[in-house]
Symmetry: C2
Subunit: 254 residues, 2 copies
């Protein structure tokens, strides 16, 4: 496992349609889960409008602070797709017609179809690495530590998988989830003491309602399965003391 033990990332979701509530974002859940599997901790997400100043500010604030930044959205053919131009501004790079991107699109579109609007999708900042789009060819790209993906989930996911292998993942996070019919308020005190005794682990609690009963999912996260299982044993003891019912135990798993 080369590199820093903790590798971090941020995501920038670009699009007025998410902010207006018109479209529910599904990319965040995918990226959070997949980054976690790759040993990369997603630390912050920003959703910004199709607005150059907002996109530039978010990218520049995050790319200096996290190991990786992933953007989704705004790389289509219409006038409101301004991500490529905004990334160029963020990096102070010229926006060019990327010859390789044009070539890939020529394979997909007939000459008549490859109109001026579609050719907009071949514009990138100068000197980027292209990211293959197996669905509709117009590629994403990477500049330094910033990966620019499409917003359409199927295309975004394919682009992510195309670069997942090159991410220098840190120590992977291992998680064990125990779901119990005990309320957060009942388990809170014991849980706090457990967290204090296990400073290397992150213990979270998430309330739920099932069969009209209040319950809590208790999630233990860390990098050492043995330490996690030790904490989980203590947690199960606590639930037993409280007279609570354990309804699910995931076991330690990446």
């Amino acid at each position: 496992m080369a590199g820093a033990p903790i590798v971090t990332a941020a995501v920038v979701i670009i699009g007025n349609e998410i902010l207006s509530g018109r479209t529910a974002d599904v990319n965040l859940t995918f990226l959070g889960r997949r980054l976690n599997e790759e040993g990369v901790r997603l630390r912050e997400v920003r959703v910004v409008a199709d607005d150059e100043a907002a996109i530039v500010e978010a990218i520049n604030a995050l790319r200096s602070r996290f190991d990786y930044v992933f953007t989704t959205g705004g790389i289509g053919p219409t006038h409101d797709d301004i991500t490529a131009a905004s990334v160029a501004v963020a990096f102070g790079l010229p926006l060019i017609f990327n010859e390789e991107a044009v070539a890939r699109m020529r394979e997909h579109y007939s000459a008549g179809q490859l109109n001026e609007a579609r050719l907009r999708m071949a514009r990138t900042p100068e000197g980027v690495a292209l990211i293959d789009n197996p669905v509709s060819k117009a590629p994403g790209f990477r500049v330094e530590n910033v990966y620019v993906f499409a917003g359409v989930p199927r295309i975004m996911q394919a682009m992510f998988e195309n670069v997942a292998g090159e991410l220098a993942g840190g120590t992977p996070t291992i998680t064990r989830t125990v779901s119990v019919f005990v309320t957060e308020g009942e388990v809170a005190e014991g849980l706090s003491a457990l967290q204090e005794r296990h400073g290397d682990l992150e213990i979270g609690s998430y309330p739920f309602v099932r069969d009209q009963k209040l319950g809590t999912s208790l999630v233990i996260r860390g990098t050492d399965a043995g330490r996690i299982d030790t904490a989980a044993d203590a947690l199960l003891g606590l639930i037993f003391e409280l007279g609570g019912e354990v309804i699910e135990d995931s076991g330690a798993a990446r």
Copy 2:
């Protein structure tokens, strides 16, 4: 309609469970839609971890820049619920046991149930206005222009509705959506020209696949229904010229 014509907001979603992909956020879609209905434009969303520095930074960056900030999550009884304490730090206010919040919780919990952990939920920065929680009593609160809501969607939604009436909404946004079986690449050029002729409107395009055919939803947003309908007429003419099929037209609606 008193106040500024454009009223803006940001949302801070607090919680490791969203960043890890474990839980899909549904609060953003609700808030985006409801704020829009109240004449408030949601301009930015940040998702941050259960981490004081991250929460403080997000709140302080956004509360000076937007008319309203809404936070969701992190106000429960467990050790990882640190939103109230973080908001106190952001405003430089002492964190107190809020007597009124304690009184409200006493109505809901018996003396034995109202343990130390649950009483954590009565801690707020000094001098806040409480926001009623009809579901489980532990209240949210407002400090200046920052509204602090629960993360559980049912409770968050109830808290929002309790304060919606006090938001000084600006000019409401009116939207007309026309969905067509024309690809984005085909409509892009005409759409761009249409946007240039209607600088007071925001014209967005969102691709979709239906019945295995590619289509585009064209969304015209503005504040004047007449101007929107004029642009929509031109848009429908453009689709007709392209030989495209209109499959839905919402008409102008708030």
